[in-house]
């Protein structure tokens, strides 16, 4: 199924007089409208316009994974997506993973705390969004597979062992570990 096609192709291709384009995102379950210039990335839109600063700008070149979000349910580097091009998509950030009450954590968030899976914490939102995507993909069942399929997220503190523990613990709870 092609989940990318959510708006008619030409619906938002016309720009305003000031050169901006109107876009609508389903952002953490809520409709979010914005007017963007074509060169604004999804990452910058999230941080600077939607003020969702949980998504981090690490390298800004797709090399570190700190900006990982779920785009139509799939993990991607938000720094390499132009906001105008993801018009009509759903975007889930770290802020959208916890329960609506803001208290109930996603099992991965809890597991990262339980397993001390970070030191400075800068890569953590990206790690957790990536792990959420990894679990949805259903391809990782062993420690080796988790390590390989989490390789898009760099942790400069080197908390990899505990990050793998945290992800494995959630996989085990969800019956996906081998």
């Amino acid at each position: 199924m092609d989940t990318r096609v959510q708006t008619p192709p030409t619906a938002a291709a016309a720009s305003h007089a000031d050169g901006t384009f109107p876009i609508t995102l389903q952002l953490n379950g809520t409709s979010h409208e914005a007017n963007v210039t074509p060169w604004v990335t999804l990452l910058d839109l999230l941080r600077e316009e939607a003020h969702l600063t949980g998504t981090k700008k690490g390298c800004d070149h797709g090399q570190c994974g700190a900006c990982t979000v779920l785009l139509d349910g799939k993990r991607v580097n938000s720094c390499l997506q132009l906001a105008v091009a993801v018009d009509g998509c759903s975007v889930q950030t770290i802020e959208g993973l916890a329960g609506d009450d803001g208290q109930t954590l996603d099992p991965l968030q809890q597991a990262f705390m339980d397993h001390d899976a970070f030191q400075c914490g800068y890569c953590t939102p990206g790690q957790i969004c990536s792990a959420r995507g990894l679990i949805a993909e259903g391809r990782a069942h062993t420690r080796d597979e988790v390590r390989e399929l989490m390789s898009g997220n760099i942790c400069r503190c080197g908390a990899y062992t505990n990050i793998t523990d945290a992800v494995m613990s959630v996989l085990e709870k969800e019956g996906a570990a081998r």
């Binding site: 990318r4 994974g65 785009l71 799939k74 993909e137 080796d144 399929l149 898009g152």
Partner: protein, 338 residues
């Protein structure tokens, strides 16, 4: 990033028509183009968004092959049941490249058309004939660890960075494109080009041509194959050297036909038919595979920092062919090389 116009193509014809203006770029997954925009390496006047075009199907084609839509993502392609079952060499090569996040966004057409990762191409303060024809090549005499050992020129020693394309070369894929004068099909060996004296062109696409699909032939080499990739860290790094090996063995275990494609060593995936025919009718052996490797690397030239790649490639070719012959392909999870 420079300021550019943006348009969303409604269909392939519309995309091609919009691209008739010089200085336009197609935007699909964005994983390479957006990065190049940020680096000011690409400064298009207009970006044509093609991601909504219906080109993401993976479907059987007449004659037993498989058509991979240009806009199918690398991840959807690698994990597609038909690709996994019938073309595991391709699946393996894709999974050896980039990261899960990048593979989720990057498309098949974009993978073919990605630019080199030569440091000097990216550094707009450095001379680069690919970025600015006639400027010179700062890589020659510079840091050459990731540079070409085969088919380079005095104008350019860049390599094509793709893993996927190395497997596609070995599989004899065909690329279906649409341009101002209609559709045509390009054999994979003729898609990318060597730098010669015009490194600004990575491939033989004409201006405004759009990739529609990559067509895989029926022969899939699903039993005896291996994709062996060697790099500076175990995951999420470009190849120093990679080898796609594919063999068809007869009932007695002799090689009926063999293919070897190399990545990380040239401006395009490197194949040499004369080296492959050495294997026909022969039993797999270390000596034979060494002969194949020597033939493939005939004329290989290092530039200092990449001299090691000649020996590395020689050993990797032998190892990948041995893995293919034994039916024990390299795992992309357990990176130990057997």
């Amino acid at each position: 990033m420079n300021r550019f116009d943006y348009a969303r193509a409604t269909d392939a014809g519309d995309a091609v028509s919009l691209a008739s203006t010089p200085g336009t770029r197609f935007l699909a997954g964005g994983t390479n183009l957006v990065d190049l925009l940020k680096e000011n390496v690409e400064r298009p006047g207009k970006v044509i968004d093609i991601r909504r075009l219906p080109l993401d199907a993976i479907a059987d084609i007449d004659g037993g092959g498989l058509r991979l839509g240009a806009l199918a993502t690398n991840a959807d392609t690698a994990w597609h049941p038909e690709v996994e079952a019938r073309y595991p060499l391709l699946s393996s090569a894709i999974l050896a490249g980039a990261s899960p996040q990048l593979r989720n966004a990057a498309t098949n057409g974009g993978n073919l058309n990605q630019r080199t990762r030569c440091y000097y191409f990216y550094d707009t303060a450095a001379a680069c004939n690919k970025r600015q024809p006639g400027a010179g090549c700062a890589a020659i005499g510079g840091q050459t660890r990731i540079h070409a050992i085969l088919g380079s020129s005095e104008s350019c020693i860049a390599t094509h960075p793709s893993d996927m394309c190395v497997a596609l070369a070995a599989l004899d894929a065909q690329v279906r494109v649409q341009g101002p004068s209609g559709e045509r099909t390009i054999a994979f060996a003729d898609y990318h080009r060597l730098p010669g004296d015009d490194p600004s062109r990575d491939n033989h696409l004409a201006d405004g041509e759009l990739v529609l699909s990559i067509d895989l032939p029926a022969e899939d080499f699903s039993t005896h194959y291996s994709y062996l990739k060697l790099r500076d860290r175990l995951s999420y790094a470009f190849a120093l050297v990679s080898v796609a090996a594919a063999l068809r063995l007869d009932a007695d275990g002799r090689i009926e036909s063999g293919r070897v494609a190399l990545g990380g060593v040239a401006h395009k995936p490197w194949r040499l038919p004369e080296a492959e025919t050495l294997m026909e009718g022969r039993e797999p052996s270390q000596e034979l595979f060494l002969d194949v490797a020597q033939r493939l690397l005939l004329g290989a030239q290092g530039r200092g920092g990449n001299d090691f790649k000649i020996e590395l490639a020689r050993r990797a070719i032998v190892r990948a062919l041995r893995q293919a012959a034994a039916g024990t392909p390299q795992s992309q999870t357990d990176k130990r090389v057997a």
